[in-house]
């Protein structure tokens, strides 16, 4: 890590209990501008729960989630509804794909534009010039996003008819449509073949550099993680056990133990 960049997301001592079960145990983590950070760990380590806390789906038991948008004041995300979190500029994808399956690919992305547009009920009924222009803007900008992830040819297909890898990319495009400055990707490469994974690899890098969006990803595919991310955080049994550059992580005995103790494909 060279110079100190602007800190975008700061999580301090995040703890989440479900009944008696402590799924996440005082985990702290930071994401800076321009970074592709990764959160890794064996199955059931609490990574997705961590994501759900950050994005407002769960309200954490303890800890602080602070968002520092550039040029705006810091906001504490604890207890905010998911849509508020998204409005603040933090978008996400899901581990088990959650697309709107009976909508077309384009429409899926258009939904992402919802929180950045504002036509209300009455204006939609009257359908004045401003509304029509906004509609057209939604369509155009959504289509451009499809071009970016390489799905423009499928724009009018139903999203449920897309191949698996394309569905994952569509989720990313949809999340980007909300104009985030930080993107949380939950296992974007799960279920992909090596070719698709390497395409994804490039896509993530492109988003990071070209769009100036910082990325925090959960991933099992170690090759992908080691290739593109820095820093890397490792979780096990709800606790953070290591953090650092890919090299540091590779050499960390705790990490090796955690992974060897669990499964080999990691």
């Amino acid at each position: 890590m060279a110079e100190k960049k602007h800190k975008l997301l700061e999580v301090k001592g995040l703890t989440m209990d479900f009944g008696g079960l402590r799924a996440v145990d005082s985990v702290s983590l930071e994401v800076h501008e321009g970074e592709i950070a990764a959160l890794i760990g064996p199955n059931g380590a609490g990574k997705t729960t961590f994501f759900n806390c950050v994005t407002g789906i769960y309200n954490p038991t303890k800890g602080d989630i602070l968002l520092h948008p550039k040029g705006l004041e810091t906001r504490r995300l604890n207890g905010l509804k998911p849509n508020k979190v998204t409005e603040m500029g933090l978008a996400r994808t899901f581990q088990n794909i959650r697309l709107f399956s009976d909508m077309t690919v384009l429409e899926n992305v258009m939904i992402g534009r919802h929180c950045r547009t504002k036509s209300g009920i009455f204006r939609s009924i009257v359908r004045g010039k401003a509304v029509l222009e906004e509609e057209q803007f939604i369509v155009e900008s959504s289509y451009q996003l499809l071009e970016k992830v390489g799905l423009e040819d499928f724009a009018n297909e139903f999203s449920k008819n897309l191949p698996y890898g394309a569905q994952r990319r569509l989720e990313i495009a949809r999340a980007m449509a909300t104009d985030p400055f930080l993107l949380l990707l939950d296992e974007p490469a799960a279920g992909m073949n090596p070719q698709e994974t390497s395409d994804l690899d490039q896509l993530i890098c492109k988003i990071s550099t070209e769009e100036q969006i910082a990325i925090l990803l959960i991933e099992h595919d170690m090759k992908l993680v080691m290739n593109i991310s820095n820093p890397i955080y490792v979780m096990e049994y709800g606790k953070k056990i290591a953090e650092g550059s890919p090299q540091e992580i590779k050499d960390n005995p705790k990490v090796i133990e955690a992974y060897l103790g669990e499964e080999v494909d990691a």
Binding site: F18, T48, N52, I57, F94, Q95, N96
Partner: protein, 300 residues
């Protein structure tokens, strides 16, 4: 004090019937997350079949308790058969469909079954023979609790114990619990999930039929529409207690029975159904998982 006791026992009787029907809702919901809207109709069909059997038997000269048992057994068999068929026709083809589909199918089935009985039989109320004998030993307290109420309470109690044993102690019960917790996992370890689902419908329907026969012989009349309101109330009971939870259904049924009984007794029966649904809304707002239900962690 006596008045309180009267209302309490009246509420318990009514509540235990709700509980019997609510068990069917809760078991089905626990396994396939479906409100089986047609469950109330199964209860009605149970009562109707019992009425027909009892009627035929009386005319051909059988007597008393033997009819009750015969009618009860045949009603249970038929209700189970209807429950089984219902699942096969209306719900199985819709597994994996969007959530609204099986629900609408269930509402359709409920309307269909009501009108099927209406057309095949009659819209009139039919007299149900009073099969439950009046016990002499109950006479001193008959104004507080009569023999039929006693029979209802005892039968319900025994049924519930049997059900608990079935679920807790047998292999089938274990498979049912496994399926309830995680259907795909249960399938992996070799549970025939389709069969377990069918079985759940069969058991639920049998319980509803027992309820139907008890109520019919207590109240003395049956028509095609009795299932609708009973079904809605029992579902409310299941939600109150925590849907998916078996002790919850029993508790929910009793709570609802008491609530209705005391509301009618101490306040007014003008707004009886308003109390019931008010209670439901209140519970759903304050404690969406019900009294005994566990909050299901939504998988994201």
């Amino acid at each position: 004090m006596e008045y309180f006791l009267e209302l309490f026992l009246g509420g318990t009787t009514r509540g235990s019937i709700y509980a019997l029907i609510a068990l069917g809702y809760t078991m089905v919901y626990g396994i396939i997350q479906l409100i089986n809207f047609a469950h109330g109709e199964i209860y009605m069909i149970g009562a109707f079949v019992a009425l027909i059997v009892a009627g035929v038997c009386t005319i051909y000269g059988l007597s008393g308790v033997s009819i009750l048992i015969l009618a009860g057994v045949i009603a249970v068999i038929y209700a189970s058969a209807y429950g089984y068929t219902l699942e096969k026709i209306a719900y199985r083809p819709l597994r994996g469909a969007p959530r609204l589909s099986p629900l609408i199918s269930a509402i359709g089935m409920s309307i269909f079954l009501q009108n099927y009985v209406l057309l095949a039989q009659t819209s009139d109320f039919l007299p149900f023979p009073r099969l439950i004998p009046e016990f002499a030993f109950m006479e001193p307290v008959a104004h507080i609790i009569g023999s039929p109420e006693l029979v209802i309470l005892v039968t319900t109690f025994i049924t519930m114990i049997l059900l608990t044993l079935l679920i807790k102690k047998t292999k089938v019960g274990k498979a049912m619990r496994a399926t309830q917790q995680d259907m795909s996992m249960a399938r992996l370890v070799g549970v025939n999930v389709d069969r377990i689902i069918s079985l759940t419908f069969v058991i639920g329907s049998a319980l509803a039929a027992i309820g139907g026969v008890l109520v019919a012989s207590y109240i003395g009349q049956v028509n095609f529409y009795i299932g609708f309101l009973a079904g809605v109330k029992a579902f409310t009971a299941a939600v109150l207690g925590g849907i998916g939870s078996i002790p919850g259904a029993v508790l929910g049924g009793l709570v609802l029975g008491w609530a209705e009984s005391f509301a009618a007794g101490y306040i007014s029966s003008d707004y009886e159904d308003v109390f019931t649904f008010g209670l439901l809304v209140l519970i759903l707002i304050l404690r969406p998982s019900g009294i005994l239900g566990k909050a299901r962690k939504q998988k994201v």
